[in-house]
Symmetry: C2
Subunit: 142 residues, 2 copies
DNA sequence: CTACAAATTCAAGTCGACTTGAGGTCAAGA
DNA sequence: TCTTGACCTCAAGTCGACTTGAATTTGTAG
């Protein structure tokens, strides 16, 4: 079984060693042991870090990611909480889609000021409406 | 023409007065004048703030939002940069969709540890691949 | 006219996620 | 055995986006 030291992990994942230590300190990952002072990680660390990267790229805090996928990739949350997270994601996806459409419109619309374009204002109104809907965790992603 | 003072704006948008001042200080918005010390805003401020809220909910920094839609809702960027922003959004949407699917799977899969589930690992690998694609602004959103 | 509530400015504080720096340790190679 | 250099710990610093607090400054109600 091949063990990786922190620099190998850093190199293979593109994550800084200091960040990896930080994740361990916060309990998102664990090292399998030490050689002298040096941490040793099992190969599964790579997938775990991929998961952490994905989760935080999606806008979740480290604590939230920790809750979704525990230190060994096992979810620490109930089915319901997970579904709620997925719903949060769907709302966020909707917001992003609106913004993307808005930006596309901005790039193409010839109106001198976009606030004067009825289409733009309509899209904007539509988007703001989303903000006032319930969010299960109470935490909007951005 | 009806002018709004900061507390009315705060109340109608749900944004704290301190945040509104902060946006003005950073140049994302401008007040139309003062009554004594007190700022007065035109009604268009509401849409502008909606735009700022949307943009930052989508993960853009205030500086980026400022670049996308200037102080009066006019975009300060070239068509190309806007299209690039839209592409960034599409990538982010893809990431979020993957994470949502992953979470759904986690909520439903009976495997003892998800890292042992081939479907999970496959989805994860698929997601990580996304991270290595080019991003036009150099800045991933989350 | 006076008091008061609401705004104002400016500096400093907070929070999350790391990064940086100083000083220490130890496995491995010469 | 001695020397490196990679890694270690712990404290402090950074960055963005605000918030908070203290010391003013009004417009307005009484």
């Amino acid at each position: 079984m091949k063990l990786l030291d922190i620099s190998e992990v850093a190199q293979q994942t593109g994550i800084a060693a200091s960040a990896i230590r930080h994740y361990e300190e916060k309990g998102l990952i664990t090292s399998v042991g030490r050689r002298g002072l040096k941490r040793l990680f099992g190969p599964e660390i790579l997938d775990q870090l991929a998961l952490i990267t994905l989760g935080s790229a999606a806008g979740f805090s480290l604590d939230e990611v920790k809750g979704m996928f525990g230190p060994d990739g096992r979810p620490a949350l109930s089915r319901q909480v997970l579904f709620d997270k997925a719903d949060d994601l769907d709302r966020q996806i909707e917001r992003l889609s609106h913004l993307r459409d808005l930006i596309h419109h901005v790039a193409e619309c010839p109106a001198p000021s976009h606030m004067e374009c009825p289409k733009f204002r309509k899209m904007l109104r539509l988007s703001s409406r989303l903000r006032n809907e319930k969010g299960s965790t109470g935490k909007a992603i951005g």
